[in-house]
Symmetry: C2
């Protein structure tokens, strides 16, 4: 069983080419993690997710806790076996989803009490049981339980929130059962306030996590602020551990964050937009429902080699989408995950070649 280890292979400016070695395989970084909320990357078979270049996927603790339950998944052999994904899995802590339940949750120092969106049952998540749930799921990477500070937040509010998250980080770390090849990431908070981000990172480093995440970004702030704060945060992070920017994002956000030295990303956009008939392409976002594509024999992206683009026209995809056929979501999601993973491969190659700035500048002219 390999140790959980980050290997920095090369830098280009602040950007990093690396590998995260884990009990379930190697993650090439910068890496994009498709989101598999309910133990499935929606509309895709796991072998397809893998074949498109995904080394790791994300699972949602909140959803799996409520249904089918972490105890059931543990009994069935863990999330890897349950969903037929033998590779690395990162699980979030459930905090983000719980805080989104604005009207039906109560936050105390102990944790968060909330009502399940499925059956209305009262449930509680704390640093301790979030960490235990993630262990039962057999997460390769466990995330600390934190509060995602809303945007905008006054400095006092952001500070109080961050400091509670740091106390929760300590409790999460204490509850984490160390196993060879498994890791736990601490999450930096502090809103849009650099001095709070610094204080947060210092608190986390004392707990010696296997990696660190930037939380509380991509929460509604303008893209320039996201890019600026990402760089502020990445500059604060140690160089010998992986750096994960949570919930990001648009291709342009990812490119800017890679330039700033971030290693890992996750986002529902390629899968959700796939189901909503929106394709990421070398020519921008394509909304397949548009009348203009009614008789268009060209593929979703003329510069793409994926199964969808090799075999199907925009006209066909539009027909499937309008007829509410499952295959529409399946084919466009396939393309979108291919697009995101090709983007990551392009960025990794550019760091390796030492021309990331040039490649990124070109890409940023084409993508959103």
């Amino acid at each position: 069983m390999p140790a959980f280890e980050y290997k920095l292979l090369k830098t280009d400016g602040k950007a990093r080419l690396g590998e995260v070695h884990t009990a379930h395989g190697v993650i090439r970084t910068p890496a994009f993690m498709p989101v598999g909320t309910a133990a499935t990357v929606k509309g895709m078979r796991p072998e397809e997710v893998k074949a498109l270049g995904s080394d790791i996927i994300l699972g949602n603790t909140y959803h799996l806790f409520l249904r089918p339950g972490h105890e059931l998944i543990e009994e069935l052999g863990g999330l890897h076996k349950f969903m037929n994904w033998p590779g690395p899995i990162l699980t979030d802590s459930g905090g983000y989803q719980v805080f989104s339940l604005a009207d039906s949750r109560k936050i105390t120092e102990e944790g968060v009490t909330f009502r399940s969106h499925i059956d209305g049952d009262k449930k509680t998540l704390t640093p301790e049981n979030s960490t235990e749930i993630q262990r039962a799921l057999d997460a390769t990477i466990t995330m600390a339980f934190d509060e995602c500070t809303p945007y905008p937040a006054e400095v006092d509010v952001a500070a109080d929130s961050m400091r509670m998250s740091m106390r929760w980080a300590k409790r999460s770390r204490d509850a984490f059962v160390k196993r060879e090849g498994y890791g736990q990431f601490g999450i930096m908070q502090g809103g849009m306030h650099p001095h709070l981000r610094k204080e947060s990172m210092e608190a986390l480093e004392k707990l010696d996590f296997e990696g660190y995440a930037i939380g509380g970004l991509a929460v509604g702030e303008p893209p320039e602020m996201l890019a600026e704060m990402t760089e502020v945060c990445a500059d604060l992070m140690p160089t010998d551990k992986p750096r994960y920017l949570m919930g990001v994002g648009y291709p342009s956000d990812i490119i800017r964050a890679v330039l700033a030295g971030v290693d890992m990303f996750d986002c529902v956009l390629p899968t959700r937009n796939g189901r909503n008939g929106q394709g990421y392409t070398s020519e921008g976002l394509v909304k397949i429902k548009l009348k203009t594509f009614e008789r268009d024999p060209s593929p979703l992206d003329p510069n793409c080699e994926c199964n969808t683009c090799k075999n199907y026209s925009k006209s066909y995809l539009r027909h499937l989408y309008r007829a509410d056929e499952m295959l529409a979501g399946m084919l466009i999601t396939h393309h979108n995950i291919h697009f995101y993973q090709q983007l990551m491969q392009t960025l990794r190659q550019a760091i390796s070649d030492g021309n990331l700035q040039e490649v990124a500048t070109k890409l940023l002219k084409k993508v959103r």
Copy 2:
């Protein structure tokens, strides 16, 4: 371009092992045709449909006529290219669907006027335009336009309906553009009345179709009557042309019809039930939503080698189904099409081995 030709390879009792040679490839018979109503076998990629042993699929003229329209599909290169299925495609005539629109259609000698279920537009299908639509779709096998006689029907009603269908068969045949490797099938009607079936078959034979279908069965009559009438009809059909029993059916219906000498089948059951969480297995129909499967680590069918059964537990499939995840329908549909195509392969092998009666008797004890 090969001629459209039926080759009878071997018989075992009344059962027939054969091949239908077409412009788009060979169909091994007895054959099951998965239903691709709206230019997609719901929830499956075409390469997957093929890999599971399907030589031919069915498309629905009614649906494609209304959306996206046969002219669009012709402009995009025909249905094969449009949906990325290069193999043979049989299209129905649209009649059956139109007659199902009980309250919003009017039947005359000319044809059927109806309102679209999509936008309420008034449309007409006749023997002539149904045949033309199927040509525009580039159907490998075109079906004659007929009236599906309801069950039960008094002899006079069934006779009148059948005789109109025979006049429509003549008009369909006249409208058919003969092309090398393409064929048109006439459809026998006559309700549950053997003498009307005989009259119908004699009328069709004069038109020298490339194949013949049994229509008006599996419309609500008891299974024993379906089996009995299938045999009556098959006995009336010529031996040098393929025989197609429309809309059938349950595995047991298919087995009995193969024993009676039928070559081709189609049915929505494996795909529709796949989406409804019902799996056909060697141990009978499995309703995956049942609580009893909550923690069941065994596959849908312990005697199955399909991708679904090799990689996923009943517990996982139940979770996906309850969470309304697309993958539930994808995985169970995959299994069901595999089950149906394995059944056909077993029946073909048994005819080849000369022990169909024995194999069929065993199978009929296990399947519904």
